[in-house]
């Protein structure tokens, strides 16, 4: 297990002003006051945490740093620790009704929105998932079950990949005969999803973390939106 270095000013290359600014962005989130109420230091969050069993990871340290408004440590945790979280929310059993998992959700969002290098690294290899969900409306599809993507799932992945088309046709629900999406999704539904991504600023987030992926997604979306009669997708 690699030890987490939380020594003071570990990221000396980033100014305190920038660390303060990022922390202020976290605190301005509408959820912040609902997920952080102080800390008894009881450690029940750590005892419940799956990631703490396999990584040098502590939801208690995160809740503590957030409550103390230790902006230097919060930057270190946002850079080096939050991506270890399993987002299971076992830590929600906190007697003070903190939710370290939700604090981490906010920290991750700020990291992505500001294009932190470590966020980009954490999302490496994740592009095909973002591509799938944003363009098809279904995150997981049968055609993802390929041996090179799941080598540790054994030989049955080969069997599924070899029989994919026919096994999908041998499913009784008519909506499940698809291979590129989990189920049959209407074109109108996908267009509505694109409009949501545009209207809520999610496209800007993607551009910040993976410009190449952003360009591909925009190309596909713009073509489909134009076909559907949307010439202008500015929604301000």
């Amino acid at each position: 297990m690699m030890a987490l270095d939380i020594s003071q000013n570990k990221h000396a290359d980033v100014s305190m002003e920038e660390k303060d600014r990022l922390f202020a962005e976290m605190k301005s989130d509408d959820r912040w006051n609902h997920v952080l109420n102080g800390c008894y230091e009881c450690g029940i969050c750590v005892a419940s945490c799956p990631s703490a069993k396999f990584y040098d990871f502590s939801p208690r340290i995160i809740a503590q740093a957030a409550a103390r408004e230790d902006t230097d440590l919060m930057y270190t945790l946002m850079s080096d620790s939050v991506w270890d979280c399993s987002q299971c929310f076992s830590c929600d059993r906190c007697p003070r009704e903190n939710s370290p998992g939700q604090i981490i959700t906010i920290m991750r969002e700020v990291a992505v929105k500001n294009g932190l290098k470590t966020a980009k690294e954490a999302l490496q290899g994740y592009g095909r998932i973002i591509y799938k969900i944003m363009l098809t409306g279904s995150q997981v599809s049968p055609d993802m079950l390929q041996p090179d993507a799941f080598p540790d799932w054994g030989t049955h992945v080969y069997e599924i990949a070899d029989n994919l088309e026919d096994w999908r046709k041998a499913l009784p629900p008519e909506t499940l005969h698809t291979t590129e999406t989990g189920w049959k999704i209407d074109e109108k539904t996908i267009i509505e999803l694109y409009l949501i991504w545009h209207m809520t600023g999610v496209m800007d987030l993607i551009e910040g973390v993976d410009e190449g992926l952003y360009d591909i997604i925009v190309d596909v979306m713009e073509e489909k939106l134009e076909e559907a009669g949307y010439d202008d997708i500015t929604f301000d």
Binding site: D30, H34, S48, P50, K53, Y55, S86, Q87, C88, F89, S90, D92, R93, T105, R108, E109, A111, V112, L123, Y126, I129, I130, I133, G137, S138, Q139, V140, S141, P142, L145, D152, W153, G154, I160, N163, D166, W167, K169, A170, L171, P172, P173, T175, L176, H177, T181, W183, K184, T189, E192, L193, L195, I196, M199, T200, G201, V202, L205, I206, F235
Partner: protein
């Protein structure tokens, strides 16, 4: 050395009194917002069933007129999970809707990558709810993460006027209304509410089967007050979901010490850090179940849990770990108990861990049943039929 008796959870019963619940009843605020013209509430259609939640409130569970909010992970990689839910509805002759105007909740991506935000997540949820309302059906959520996430979205929309305003504006641009369901209902709650009717139609004796249960984190840890509890099951010290269903079917449920642990899915971990998922799943769940209970099967009720607990065992076997437990959903077990075909309906060939011993213990001729499925596939390959139909799956 002094030996003291160990108190078990079932020896203590949680006293549940809705009048003294520590958490609000969101439904009251929901109806108040509706009166104020802020949103519309989709009512649970009558007749409905009732189950008890953590603090004693009654939760309405629709019998039919259900709009099936499917799961991307279930439909994509373990499709027998979904087809078993539909099969149960059909066997009871219930009116249900399997929509094509439905997207993923997109929460898996959100929890994994944070490449989204609360407005987008809420808008995706409301777009799906509005789609259900437009056709006059009530949403029934198949995925545990969608269920937990939608409960959080509903909670946020009730408490955050600014978020409501933003989402209402988005919905207006899509030509839709801001609608929220009276209850957020998970399919496993529907299965549990139907358990006695399922048991009445049971054709396969399961009294020689022992199961361990994994309750999904996003089912009972997110908006915990909305999960199903029963004072007769674990003394209401933990959720009764799945266990109540299995007991009604005569299955023995074995307890194990790491029941509260997650499955190891981790959202981003199962995709890009699978060493964690594999290790956690095998060492903290499967091996503990084997050592403490040695069950015939693991039963759970969420997409990620079935996937992780099942798929992770392959690598565990290569390292001589104590693995080899088939993993299924409660919908598959309920359908199997009522005589559903293990391959045509449960689609067990999409699962990884060997289930031969489990099926044979139930007295099922696995080779004959597989041959029947293969015959259907051969007909499709030969062009004799385009698809396998519900009629073919009987």
């Amino acid at each position: 050395m002094l030996h003291l008796p160990i108190l078990k959870a079932e020896d203590r019963k949680q006293v549940i009194d809705p009048a003294n619940a520590p958490k609000e009843d969101l439904r009251e605020e929901l109806f108040q917002l509706e009166k104020e013209g802020e949103l519309e509430v989709i009512r649970v259609p009558e007749p409905y069933m009732e189950l008890t939640t953590k603090f004693g409130r009654k939760k309405k569970i629709p019998v039919e007129k259900t709009w099936h909010h499917k799961s991307c992970g279930q439909c994509g990689h373990i499709p027998g999970y979904s087809s078993s839910i539909f099969w149960l509805n059909r066997e009871f002759g219930l009116d249900y809707h399997d929509p094509t105007d439905q997207t993923s909740c997109t929460a898996w991506n959100y929890y994994a990558s944070a490449t989204s935000n609360p407005e987008a997540q809420a808008a995706v949820a409301i777009r799906n709810f509005a789609s259900a309302a437009e056709v006059g059906y009530f949403p029934l959520i198949h995925c545990g993460t969608s269920f937990g996430h939608y409960k959080e979205v509903r909670h946020a929309l009730v408490h955050q006027p600014e978020l409501r305003r933003k989402v209402r504006a988005i919905m207006e641009k899509l030509g839709k209304k801001l609608v929220l369901p009276e209850e957020v209902v998970h399919y496993s709650e529907w299965v549990m509410a139907m358990k006695d009717r399922i048991a009445e139609k049971q054709t396969i004796d399961m009294s020689n089967i022992t199961a361990t249960v994994h309750p999904a984190c996003h089912y009972h840890k997110l908006i915990e007050e909305d999960a199903i509890y029963d004072s007769e099951i674990y003394g209401a010290q933990r959720s009764a979901i799945i266990t109540g269903t299995l007991q009604a079917l005569g299955v023995n449920v074995g307890d194990y010490s790491t029941w509260f642990d997650c499955c190891g899915f981790g959202f981003r971990h199962i995709l890009v850090s699978r060493d964690f998922s594999r290790s956690f799943s095998v060492q903290r769940k499967i091996e503990v179940m084997k050592e403490e209970v040695n069950p015939d099967i693991v039963v759970t009720h969420d997409t990620g849990c079935v996937t992780t607990l099942d798929q992770s065992q392959f690598a565990g076997r290569a390292q001589d770990r104590k693995v080899g437990l088939p993993v299924m959903s409660d919908s598959q077990i309920a359908a199997l108990a009522m005589g559903a075909h293990p391959y045509k309906v449960l689609q067990l060939h999409w699962h990884n861990t060997d289930n031969k011993a489990f099926l044979e213990k139930l007295g099922l001729d696995r080779e004959k049943l597989w041959a029947e499925f293969e015959s259907e596939v051969s007909d499709i390959r030969a062009g004799k039929k385009e698809f396998m139909t519900w009629e073919d799956a009987k």
